[in-house]
């Protein structure tokens, strides 16, 4: 209950407060969100498998986000930023679908 409330409150805060993002960070936020989504789906899958741990989830969430941002940042430094961000989105997209498939199997047994 807290978790879903916190999610909604967070979205509301982000929309209402309109935190001004540093201009350098605007290209990374979408990538970070995709990475976070992957962590969320991974956590959900782990929970259905019975192997969920909130500590592991928190650590994996932040490390996922940071590493994704780091990869794109390095890509930007060496001039392949847009390609690498595409690559990150593709990889995370595949992983999200894989996790979603596992969750579907756990929920619907199909």
């Amino acid at each position: 209950m807290f978790a879903i409330l916190a999610l909604l409150v967070g979205i509301a805060l982000g929309i209402w407060l309109e935190p001004s993002l540093p201009p350098g960070l605007t290209t990374y936020l979408p990538i970070m969100i995709v990475a976070a989504l992957d962590a969320l789906f991974g956590a959900l899958r782990a929970w259905f498998d019975g192997t969920f741990s909130d500590r592991v989830f928190a650590v994996s969430f932040f490390s996922n986000v940071l590493i994704a941002a780091l990869i794109v940042f390095i890509g930007d430094q060496i001039g392949v930023g847009s390609q690498l961000s595409t690559a990150v989105v593709v990889v995370f997209g595949i992983r999200i679908f894989t996790n979603a498939a596992a969750i579907r199997r756990a929920v619907f047994h199909a």
Binding site: A12, T26, T51, V59, S82
Partner: protein
């Protein structure tokens, strides 16, 4: 890249003993029940999800701000800028060209206006000179009383010439005869005819011009006044600020002469 599906599996295996024992393979109902029942682990979960929510909300507002360039990359922006610069210079060249055309047309219109004003001026002058339009202006009104009807055509012609010398611009006799360049005077036995029209007495001459000079042109020794007085008549002259002349002539059609 961390793997939230693999790594929790190892860690959770250790933690699972401390956590309430739940058999692997939970259902959606278990998830709802777990979410509804508050527990300590939910606080950490909530904190992480709050961060995630703020990120999503921020990104949503950034997108909603409808500024596609805020998230664009430098190379793309440079390309966009190049395109915009090229377009700008092209449009500026077009503006300069159109301005030149406009100025040309403008000066043409101005020239045409000046020419038209000039032509209108000449037209007005010629119309007054030819007597094809009415005229108004300061001048004098001369009334000649001649009970013996002895005033001759030549006296009248002399008077008209004297008025012209004094700067008369428009001359009219008896409110009906407009005196122009081709006007002629003739007469015999006490009747005077001007332009086929017999002059009735007393004769009224309206003249537009400088009033004082015109009056002097009639009053000088040997002029109209003294001549008429010698013949037994009398003349009254009044200077007026506005003499209105309405008699007009139709424009004669030149049969032979053409503009050269």
């Amino acid at each position: 890249m961390p793997d939230p599906t693999e790594r929790p599996a190892r860690h959770a295996a250790e933690d699972e003993t401390a956590a309430p024992a739940t058999p692997p393979g939970r259902s959606l109902r278990d998830l709802g029940r777990a979410l509804l029942r508050p527990s300590a682990s939910h606080i950490l979960l909530a904190a992480v999800l709050l961060v995630f929510g703020v990120g999503v909300g921020t990104q949503l507002t950034t997108k909603a701000a409808d500024d596609p360039y805020a998230t664009a990359r430098r190379a793309d922006l440079i390309q966009l800028l190049d395109t915009a610069t090229t377009e700008t210079s092209r449009l500026e060249a077009e503006i300069a060209q159109l301005k030149t055309t406009r100025d040309k047309l403008q000066s043409g219109v101005d020239g045409a206006k000046v020419a038209q004003a000039e032509a209108q001026n000449r037209l007005d002058n010629l119309a007054i000179l030819n007597g094809t339009v009415g005229a108004t202006g300061p001048g004098i009104r001369v009334v000649v009383y001649d009970p013996g009807q002895k005033v001759s055509a030549s006296t009248l012609l002399d008077a008209v010439e004297e008025f012209r010398d004094a700067g008369a611009e428009v001359i009219e006799i008896n409110d009906s005869i407009r005196v122009v360049a081709s006007t002629w005077f003739a007469g015999a036995n006490g009747s005077v005819v001007a332009d086929r029209t017999a002059i009735t007495w007393p004769m009224v001459i309206d003249v537009i011009g400088e009033g004082h000079a015109l009056e002097e042109a009639a009053r000088f020794r040997g002029g109209l006044v003294s001549q008429v007085q010698q013949l037994g008549g009398s003349v009254t002259i009044t200077q007026e600020t506005s003499v209105r002349i309405t008699a007009v002539r139709s424009l004669p059609q030149n049969q032979y002469a053409r503009p050269a």
